[in-house]
Symmetry: C2
Amino acid sequence: MRQLVYEILEKQKKALSLYEIEQQFVNVERSTIFRTLKTFQDNYLIHSIDDGTGAVKYALCDDDCTCKPDDLHIHFLCNKCGQTHCMKDMPVPKMDLAEGFSFENANFVVKGICPNCR
Amino acid sequence: MRQLVYEILEKQKKALSLYEIEQQFVNVERSTIFRTLKTFQDNYLIHSIDDGTGAVKYALCDDDCTCKPDDLHIHFLCNKCGQTHCMKDMPVPKMDLAEGFSFENANFVVKGICPNCR
DNA sequence: GAGTACGTGCAACAGTATTGCAAAGTTTTA
DNA sequence: TAAAACTTTGCAATACTGTTGCACGTACTC
């Protein structure tokens, strides 16, 4: 199961939702995939993205990704096709927060139209 | 109703979820508040933030806010108390997207610990 | 005062995430 | 190798948020 889910994520360049992954199988329970993804996340194989569509999406981390703040990158959500792309070469910019705020994590989703939908 | 909801949002410096607003009332239906907030949004009085907690939060726009991409600012979610703050003086940085991607909107949520929770 | 428009509350529903439990499968151990 | 221990899976149920249909009541209009 883990291998299969991993392969699906590997094949895709984009981030997939639980539902989308489920669609790739014929007879696999959502909860099974859910728990598989959770295992992956716990072991830093994948990262999850909340792009605001209501469904969390998942994508493979790079080999050298530690899922630490330094590795954060921007995600792009196409308003037309709904696909979410990992912009792995675009790190989330560091912001100078106001006094007293400490940085732990960030979620930066840019929305617009992707090349395929123009 | 609209006045009451507006006043609640005005009093708070932070963004509130539908549920949190509901808690401020004794006998008001969720749907009523929901529709009130929707009306506000349609008329650009408030903006909604998806901070990844699962609940959309709402905050007043500035007087001169057009809710257009130029007015976007960063939001800060405290991982401890769960409160979401509007960093109205911190605009979302413009990113140079890869060829073919067009920018329409963005959501930038920084997570960490807020001054109150240190 | 009849008709119309608007706001509210109730109830139901949708979509996603999440958990409990038991069955099935796998590994370990004696 | 058989029993015990552990892991994974599928099913069903549930939680939570958001959303809508409908009916009722109030307020406005003519």
